[in-house]
């Protein structure tokens, strides 16, 4: 097994980072006086800070490690997860949805559902979301422990416990503010650790044209179209011609519309950062500010993956070889660590590993702060103990932080013993999430949508996702957790294509059922919907804002840039 040896300077850099992370948490402790301070940062965060935190909370270790792995597997087509699967949705949530999230003064996404629809819709969303955040932070804890223990020879238990403790200390002390501030720190560290890797490795392979020439050979040896790794759209006409095994419609609708809008526009993990902003216009700018670095992240994470696969193809000449897995395939998850140790001397190596740790912590902290808020406001205050003092809820929030992190650690250990259970749970959450965006879209833009309609739509959409998964199978898989457990009616060229189509079916069924049931039930009173639905809400005032502070022009510029990038790498 491949091992990285660290030197004193590497530990020094890691220690410096940890010192600041903990210091910020402890310095913020005295400002946490009310539950609003703890869960919403007292709605006092400036736009640029909220924006970077919005991005960083999404930037877990799975994002960095996983997107680099996808870069190695699929090449530049991975950029669809950014330029199609993130940017448009981020612009949409900032320009069109934030007025309702921020303007309604809802303290969480489930609470918005309660205000707009009814109690059962909120309960359904709050419970599934709370469970999901705990499990996903557990899974990332597990992945991080596994990676660090394999790479550095550290003890798995120590990795899991120590990193969970650090996140616990800084959130317990400083709440959401602490998470947000640290996410800003983590964002800069991730860039500081990964940007020089991209620059040095790209120069090493002879720039973009040199990389293109090398990847030509990789595509040919795998029987794909010659430009399959360096051209993002040209080969999407036929699923067999590109390494993802997806055709353009499934990609654009499944990823670009349903999955991406479902995540960026409804996931409280990210939306919470915008809700903490200090004004309506700052809240609307939050996702837009986040979209700018998000657009450039492919150059930090996908590029090293592409370079790693190109180098591995001619390993004899380059001396770089991605390690294999026991089953003979390449271990793509090691792209970033392998590249770091190949190109960086001690010092930079420590910074690179600190960046990985930082990305892991930002992702986990995002989950934990979203969990403690939803638990305290949407579950505890709503169903267990309403009308307690604010001080009591602040205390409950701290306890929920403790409990959430404890449960994440437990989930991490469950994952070490029963990997299949984790796969199964992730699948269940994917089914619950798939239809969500239809509910929010109708809730915000159609005043006739009712609570019964929303709830029926969500349940029907989740069922549709489950049934579609049970009836379809990716090529080469055996029926079971991968699908086809009812009967195999259709087969998809890849698992990704199956996921995209599951999402499309779930969204469509939820959309249709919500409309049908809403029309059959009693319309909600218009006076109860003010500030919650587009047609009954006054437009946010924009006088006195300069053009670059207005969400509309900003969003248009960002969409234009994303379009240029898509065309450039067509």
């Amino acid at each position: 097994m491949f091992r990285i040896q660290l030197a004193f300077i590497d530990y020094l850099i890691l220690a410096t980072y940890l010192l600041f992370v903990l210091g910020i948490g402890l310095a913020l402790k005295r400002y946490m006086k009310t539950s609003t301070d703890f869960f919403l940062s007292g709605r006092s965060i400036p736009a640029w800070v909220a924006g970077l935190a919005f991005l960083s909370a999404n930037l877990g270790a799975q994002e960095v490690i996983g997107m680099a792995a996808s870069g190695a597997k699929y090449g530049i087509a991975t950029s669809h997860f950014y330029w199609v699967g993130a940017i448009p949705a981020m612009v949409f949530v900032g320009v069109f949805m934030m007025p309702f999230y921020y303007g309604s003064r809802a303290r969480s996404v489930p609470e918005y559902l309660k205000l707009r629809f009814d109690e059962k819709t909120r309960g359904f969303n709050a419970l599934s979301f709370a469970a999901m955040t705990v499990f996903s932070s557990g899974i990332s804890l597990y992945a991080m422990g596994l990676l660090m223990s394999a790479l550095l020879g550290w003890d798995f238990n120590a990795c899991v416990i120590v990193s969970a403790l650090i996140v616990l200390v800084y959130i317990y002390a400083g709440g959401l503010t602490s998470a947000i501030y640290n996410e800003v720190l983590q964002f800069f560290l991730i860039v500081a650790g990964l940007l020089p890797l991209s620059l040095i490795s790209l120069r090493d392979v002879g720039g973009w044209s040199g990389l293109q020439a090398r990847l030509l050979g990789v595509a040919e040896s795998r029987g794909l179209a010659p430009g399959a790794y360096t051209e993002s759209w040209r080969h999407l006409g036929d699923a067999a011609q590109n390494p993802m095994g997806v055709e353009w419609f499934g990609m654009a609708m499944g990823l670009g519309f349903v999955l991406s809008f479902g995540y960026w526009c409804t996931d409280f993990l990210v939306v919470q950062r915008a809700m903490a902003a200090n004004s309506m216009s700052a809240a609307r700018r939050t996702p837009l500010i986040a979209a700018v670095p998000k657009m450039l992240f492919p150059f930090l994470v996908i590029l090293p993956g592409m370079i790693a696969i190109a180098l591995t193809e001619s390993a004899a000449e380059t001396g770089f070889q991605l390690p294999g897995k026991p089953d003979g395939s390449l271990n793509f998850d090691l792209v970033i660590p392998m590249m770091l140790s190949h190109y960086f001397p001690h010092g930079m190596l420590g910074l690179g590993l600190t960046a990985l740790l930082a990305s892991f912590m930002s992702g986990m902290a995002g989950n934990v702060t979203a969990f403690n808020t939803v638990w305290t406001y949407d579950i505890y205050q709503s169903y267990i103990r309403p009308n307690a003092s604010d001080r009591h809820y602040l205390q409950v929030g701290r306890m929920a932080t403790l409990f959430g992190i404890g449960a994440s650690v437990a989930a991490a250990y469950v994952a070490t013993r029963f990997n299949n259970i984790m796969d199964l749970l992730q699948l269940v959450f994917a089914f619950v999430n798939a239809p969500l965006f239809a509910t929010f879209l109708l809730g915000m833009f159609w005043k006739r949508a009712t609570g019964h309609g929303a709830f029926a739509g969500l349940v029907a959409g989740t069922l549709a996702a489950t049934i579609h998964h049970g009836l379809s199978l990716p090529a080469g898989a055996i029926p079971g957790v991968k699908g086809g457990w009812l009967a195999v009616l259709t087969s998809y060229p890849s698992e990704m294509a199956q996921n995209f189509w599951t999402a499309i079916y779930a969204w469509t069924v939820c959309f249709a059922v919500t409309i049908a049931v809403s029309l059959l039930t009693k319309a909600p009173g218009e006076q109860t919907l003010q500030g919650l639905v587009y047609s009954l809400t006054p437009r946010p005032r924009e006088e006195g804002l300069r053009w670059y502070q207005r969400p509309g022009p900003l969003g248009a510029i960002i969409l234009g840039c994303a379009l240029v990038l898509n065309v450039f790498f067509w």
């Binding site: 410096t16 600041f20 310095a27 501030y181 910074l351």
Partner: protein, 58 residues
């Protein structure tokens, strides 16, 4: 809220940058540690300056 994030952020970047740059100098001159360390040091200094400028305005 209370604490200005630009201050600790600038300090951390400057400190890590300085560590890298000094280590680069000690271990043999113009390598990635030196030039990237110097860049981070400059970024950190910029945040510290921005933080002070922000305070004076208020």
């Amino acid at each position: 809220m209370g604490l200005d994030i630009r201050m600790p952020l600038g300090l951390m970047l400057a400190l890590i940058g300085a560590q890298l740059a000094v280590y680069g100098l000690l271990t043999g001159g113009a390598d990635v540690n030196l030039w990237w360390g110097t860049t981070l040091l400059a970024c950190g200094a910029a945040f510290l300056w921005w933080s002070r400028a922000g305070k004076r305005k208020r």
